[in-house]
């Protein structure tokens, strides 16, 4: 294998790793926001599936991936509204009600697909955007700066969320509500409003994550996400609730997936070994959970409904 060939492969693998990391990143950033406000959402996978279907369907009908992505976000926000009502107003047990959302999304997306589409037709993917100048840098350019809009958006959200959480009043409120809602309430800030907004934005991102996946792959099928949403939840812990940590976790999952995929197409790794490789991120996450659990505290009010005077 000569140098030119291996460089091409390296570039392709890293670029596809970044693409594959994007849905993880969007979904886990959304989940992180919700958890920072004290609400655990285990339904991410279901919301992603619904977002994926709706985006697929809209692109199929309109031929415009951007409208599809917007539809994914909108659908996620509707799910967020419902989930906020269940958890914030009705104080539902968050570990379990999320599973309900997941099952609903799993069944509903399949049902709608079979009823409205039936035979899977490929859809228009996002156009690639080459960032002027930066894309021309050798090696780094094609790796980092020749992606679709959604990839750039996802990675730009990382510093944006960091800024939001650390340097804005709204971000402070989110964090405070996740740590000590009673104190926030006593200052006259509405716990309900802060949590509602965090959950709605978070679920909107989960919807977008599903849309990104479906549009990137150009298809929809039953259980398209195959537990990606659940991994996204774990990545929040992996990243210790910090946007950059979440990004690191997403990149690990994306890169491993890309390497497995690349290895398979080149025939370097046998199929069976790729199953084991696919297991690696989950195992790494378990170890990371052990480390994180001892070093970083989760938001103190996580998955605890707030009731005034209790």
């Amino acid at each position: 294998m000569n140098d030119f060939f291996s460089t091409t492969i390296l570039i392709a693998t890293v670029a596809s790793g970044i693409r594959l990391a994007t849905p993880f990143l969007l979904a886990s950033l959304g989940e992180a926001l919700g958890q920072r406000s004290g609400v655990l959402n285990l339904g991410v996978d279901g919301v992603m599936l619904m977002g994926a279907f709706v985006a697929y369907f809209v692109v199929l009908k309109t031929g415009n991936p951007l409208i599809g992505a917007a539809a994914g976000i909108l659908l996620g926000m509707v799910f967020g509204l419902v989930y906020a009502f269940i958890t914030v107003n009705l104080h539902a047990e968050q570990g379990v009600s999320g599973i309900g959302i997941y099952l609903f999304g799993l069944g509903m997306s399949d049902l709608l697909f079979q009823k409205l589409v039936g035979t899977p037709l490929p859809i228009m993917p996002f156009p690639e955007i080459h960032i002027p100048l930066l894309a021309d840098i050798p090696i780094i350019g094609p790796m980092l700066f020749t992606h679709s809009l959604i990839v750039y958006v996802a990675f730009l959200l990382v510093p944006a969320f960091t800024l939001l959480l650390n340097s804005t009043t709204y971000g402070m409120n989110i964090r405070a509500v996740g740590e000590n809602p009673a104190a926030v309430d006593s200052l006259g800030v509405s716990v309900t409003k802060v949590r509602y907004s965090a959950i709605i934005i978070g679920n909107g991102l989960a919807g977008l994550a599903g849309a990104a996946l479906a549009i990137e792959l150009g298809i929809f099928q039953h259980n398209l996400t195959n537990s990606m949403g659940f991994i996204a939840i774990a990545l929040v812990y992996f990243g210790a609730w910090r946007p950059f940590g979440v990004m690191a976790g997403s990149l690990i999952f994306g890169m491993v997936a890309a390497i497995v995929l690349q290895g398979k197409t080149l025939g370097i790794i046998p199929r069976s070994a790729s199953d084991l490789a696919a297991m690696a991120p989950a195992v790494i996450t378990i170890f990371a959970l052990v480390l994180v659990a001892n070093r970083f505290k989760q938001p103190a009010a996580l998955s605890k409904p707030y009731e005034r005077g209790r």
Binding site: G100, F104, N223, S227, D275, A278
Partner: protein, 374 residues
């Protein structure tokens, strides 16, 4: 009398939640162009209307019931086990490997042996997140989810590798499935001509055993105490860490047994993977949670509950054939039922608070009267 009344109302609310979910399902049926009433009639007729249907319903209810009673154990100990899927897969794998290793054992030996290995496989896969929770404070919700993913990959690896049917390699089709398992490991049928097998009886016995465990043994008392308040349990000298591990291991054991029964009671008598856990379990690892919640986390109520949800799965297939309504409807409906039942807890609590407040007022006024009287 008062007691009875409050019990009735506390039951009415979850039932109301299910009716609400079914009403939403009816709207969905309408939207899909099917007559809701006749749709539901088709479903329940197919599931409970004849012997074949009842047999199919019983078959579908087996994994739901086993996972469900496992969930009863862990949720009662306030440990959220989302790992039913992975525990089913691991139980099935341990059992399958055992059956392939000892093909010459006779049925009386092999059937109990493979079921036991299923139980063990699931128990180990449950004990791991238990230990992570107890000793490293890792949220069991996350570790069980991660272990689901690990279990699926182990299954894919083994079924594509060492466990693959040699015939698949010869033919070059390479479908990831085992050879037909030894006939002596087949679960005996209960009735001539019906598919329902010994697994159903085992599941019923397991439900009863879990009830005994939770309410008639010291271990069950400990687990429930830990569930009510970890602090209080610790103060009372109950080993909380060990109880958490035990709860998850027992919960996993039930799911593992479900996985084993799924393999040895299957029509093909092979273990097959389509690459996902849903493909093997039919989402029973999740739907078992629905069954247990609907049964109020009571192992004996889980029996009718599992039959209901098993019947819905059978009915959905019939509906798909009769009215072209995709059977995925039932999964969506199950999701709605979870959401509704969990949310209805709020109203039940409110009602209870209201009730005890009124009792306190009555008690108070009675005492006042007595004091005035004396």
């Amino acid at each position: 009398m008062q007691e009875v009344k409050s019990k009735v109302t506390s039951w009415l609310i979850p039932i109301g939640a299910v009716i609400a979910a079914l009403a939403l399902g009816a709207i969905m049926l309408l939207a899909l162009g099917a007559e809701p009433l006749s749709g539901y009639a088709t479903m329940f007729g197919a599931a409970f209307g004849n012997l074949k249907g009842l047999s199919a319903t019983a078959m579908k209810s087996i994994p739901l019931l086993l996972v469900g009673v496992g969930i009863c154990i862990s949720f009662r100990a306030n440990v959220i086990n989302i790992g039913g899927e992975g525990q089913m897969v691991m139980g099935a794998l341990w059992a399958t490997i055992t059956a392939l290793s000892f093909p010459h054992l006779d049925s009386l030996m092999l059937v109990p042996l493979v079921l036991l290995m299923g139980i063990l496989g699931g128990a180990v896969w449950g004990a791991i997140p238990g230990a992570l929770k107890a000793y490293f404070n890792v949220s069991e919700i996350l570790s069980t989810i991660m272990l689901n993913i690990v279990a699926v990959q182990i299954m894919n690896y083994l079924l594509r590798g060492v466990l693959i049917d040699p015939g698949e390699i010869e033919r070059g089709t390479r479908i990831p499935q085992t050879a037909r398992l030894p006939e002596t490991s087949d679960l005996p049928l209960l009735f001539e001509g019906l598919r329902v097998h010994l697994g159903f009886v085992i599941a019923l016995l397991a439900a009863f055993a879990v009830w005994v465990l939770l309410w008639r043994t010291a271990l069950g008392f400990k687990l429930r105490s830990v569930g009510l308040s970890r602090e209080a349990a610790r103060y009372a000298g109950i080993p909380v860490k060990r109880s958490i591990i035990t709860a998850l291991a027992l919960s996993g054991a039930m799911a593992g047994l479900a996985g084993a029964i799924l393999v040895f009671g299957s029509e093909s008598h092979r273990m097959v993977t389509d690459g996902s856990s849903t493909g093997f379990t039919g989402s029973a690892g999740f739907n078992g949670i629905v069954v247990a919640l609907f049964a109020g986390l009571h192992p004996l109520w889980s029996i009718p509950s599992s039959l209901l949800f098993g019947g819905m799965l059978v009915g959905a297939n019939a509906l798909q054939r009769a009215a072209q309504v995709p059977s995925a409807l039932v999964i969506a409906l199950n999701g709605l039922i979870v959401v509704f039942v969990v949310s209805s807890e709020f109203f039940r609590r409110k009602l209870q608070q209201h009730h005890s407040a009124r009792q306190a007022i009555e008690e108070d006024s009675r005492l006042t009267e007595e004091n005035v009287g004396s």
